[in-house]
C-alpha cells in the first residue's frame, strides 16, 4: 500500500512531478550538493527536496512556471535543512560583498585544502560559505537562469539581482582566473 487514495489529484500531481524530476533532476542534485557537504545528509536532503516538490504539486496553481515553482520549493527545503544544521554547527556565513572584501573563506576547510587546485571543489566551497539569499542567486546563475528568472524565483527585484550578479562575476573572475588570494 502506498497511501495513493489520500490525494485527490494524484494523477496530475504525479505528472507534474515526473516532468519536473526529469527536467530538473540533475539541477536538484547539484543544489543539494551546494547546501550539504556530508554525503549521507546530502542524500537525505535530496530525497526531502523530491518529496516536497511532489507534495507541492498538489497545490500548484500555475501562477508561475513549473521551473520557478520547483526551484522555489527546492531552495526553501534546503534553507530549512541548512538552518537545522547550523544550530549544531554554527559557521559564519558571508554575503557576496563580504566575500569580495576578504580572503578565500574556503582555505581553513581541510576538505578544500586537499583539493586546492580543484576548481569545482573550490566553487562548491565558495557557495557553501555564502548566506542563503546570496547562495541561491549564485546557484540559479550557475544553472543558467537569466536575471529576470532569478528575480522571479528569489522575490528580489531584477535590479538587485543584476547588481549581485555583477558582484558575483567579479568575485569569480578574481578567484578563479586572475590569481586571487587562493592561488598561492
Amino acid at each position: 500500500m502506498d497511501g495513493a487514495d489520500q490525494f485527490p489529484s494524484r494523477t496530475m500531481q504525479d505528472e507534474h512531478y515526473a516532468r519536473a524530476a526529469a527536467d530538473l533532476g540533475p539541477a536538484l542534485e547539484r543544489l543539494a550538493r551546494a547546501y550539504e557537504a556530508d554525503p549521507d545528509q546530502r542524500r537525505d536532503l535530496l530525497q526531502d527536496i523530491h518529496l516536497a516538490i511532489w507534495r507541492s504539486f498538489a497545490r500548484y496553481d500555475g501562477r508561475c512556471s513549473e521551473r520557478t515553482w520547483v526551484y522555489r520549493v527546492a531552495h526553501n527545503v534546503a534553507i530549512s535543512h541548512g538552518q537545522k544544521r547550523r544550530r549544531s554547527r554554527p559557521d559564519k556565513l558571508l554575503t557576496l560583498d563580504e566575500l569580495a572584501a576578504r580572503g578565500d573563506p574556503t582555505q581553513p576547510d581541510p576538505e578544500v585544502q586537499t583539493a586546492d587546485r580543484h576548481a569545482l571543489a573550490r566553487l562548491t566551497a565558495l557557495i557553501r560559505a555564502l548566506v542563503p539569499p546570496d547562495r541561491q542567486i549564485v546557484m540559479l546563475y550557475l544553472e543558467g537562469l537569466e536575471a529576470k528568472a532569478i528575480a522571479e524565483v528569489s522575490g528580489l527585484s531584477p535590479g538587485a539581482i543584476a547588481t549581485k550578479l555583477h558582484r558575483l562575476k567579479a568575485v569569480l573572475a578574481n578567484r578563479f582566473n586572475q590569481g586571487g588570494p587562493d592561488e598561492r
Binding site: 497511501g3 504525479d14 547539484r30 542524500r43 526553501n76 534553507i79 569545482l120 566553487l123 573572475a173 586572475q178
Partner: protein, 191 residues
C-alpha cells in the same frame, strides 16, 4: 566589470557535475510521503502522551483534602498542560511548510520571523500558564501541608529550595529563548 574570463566558464563547470544518485521513482515518493504522515501522527501522539503523564502526576494532588491551595494548584497545572498541548498543536499545525512555493526571500524571512516570535513568546504560552498553579501548589505546601517527618523549618527550607529550583529552570529557559530570538532578529535585520 571583470566579466567572465574566456578560459573559465563557471556555468559549464557547475553543470558538468556527474550525478551521484538515481532519481526516486514515484512509488518511492509515495512511500516516503506516507512515512512522513505517520511520523507527524506519532509526534502528535507523543505530545499527547506527555500531557497525559503530567495530568496523571497531578491528579492525586486533587484528592489531597487537607490543602485547598494544593488542590487548586494541581487543577490549574492540569488546565495549563491542556492549554500548552493545544498551543503546541496549533503552532505546529499552522507552520508554513516549504512546499508552499513561496519566493525564496519571503520564505526565508517568514521562517526566521516565525521562529523568532515562537522564541519571544515562549514566556506567555509555555511558561506563564504553569505559574499560577505552581505558586498555589507551593503556597499550599507552605501554609497548609507539611511533611510530618521533618521539622517545620526544614520543611520550609525544602519548599524554598524547590521553588528556587523551579524559578531558576523557568528563568533559564526564558533567557535562552530570548537570546535565540535576539540572534534571529540579527539575521532578519541583515536580509
Amino acid at each position: 566589470m571583470s566579466g567572465d574570463p574566456s578560459d573559465f566558464d563557471p556555468q559549464t563547470l557547475w553543470q558538468s557535475q556527474a550525478q551521484e544518485h538515481e532519481p526516486m521513482s514515484l512509488a518511492e515518493i509515495h512511500q516516503k510521503a506516507l512515512k512522513l504522515e505517520r511520523g507527524v501522527r506519532w509526534r502528535n501522539i507523543r505530545e499527547y502522551v506527555a500531557s497525559v503523564i503530567v495530568v496523571a502526576f497531578f491528579t492525586p494532588v486533587l484528592l489531597h483534602r487537607e490543602s485547598w491551595m494544593m488542590q487548586a494548584g494541581a487543577a490549574l497545572i492540569i488546565l495549563a498542560t491542556a492549554f500548552v498541548a493545544w498551543q503546541m498543536h496549533r503552532r505546529t499545525a499552522t507552520n508554513p511548510i516549504p512546499e508552499a512555493g513561496q519566493a525564496l526571500r519571503d520564505h526565508h524571512r517568514q521562517t526566521l520571523i516565525r521562529q523568532r516570535d515562537a522564541l519571544r513568546s515562549v514566556g506567555w504560552w509555555y511558561m506563564a500558564p504553569f505559574a499560577p498553579g505552581m505558586v498555589l501548589l507551593m503556597m499550599g505546601r507552605w501554609f497548609q501541608s507539611h511533611v510530618s517527618s521533618r521539622s517545620l523549618a526544614m520543611d520550609h527550607l525544602a519548599i524554598l529550595l524547590a521553588s528556587g529550583f523551579v524559578v531558576l529552570v523557568f528563568g533559564g529557559i526564558w533567557w535562552l529563548n530570548q537570546l535565540g530570538a535576539k540572534r534571529l532578529q540579527q539575521q532578519i535585520d541583515e536580509l
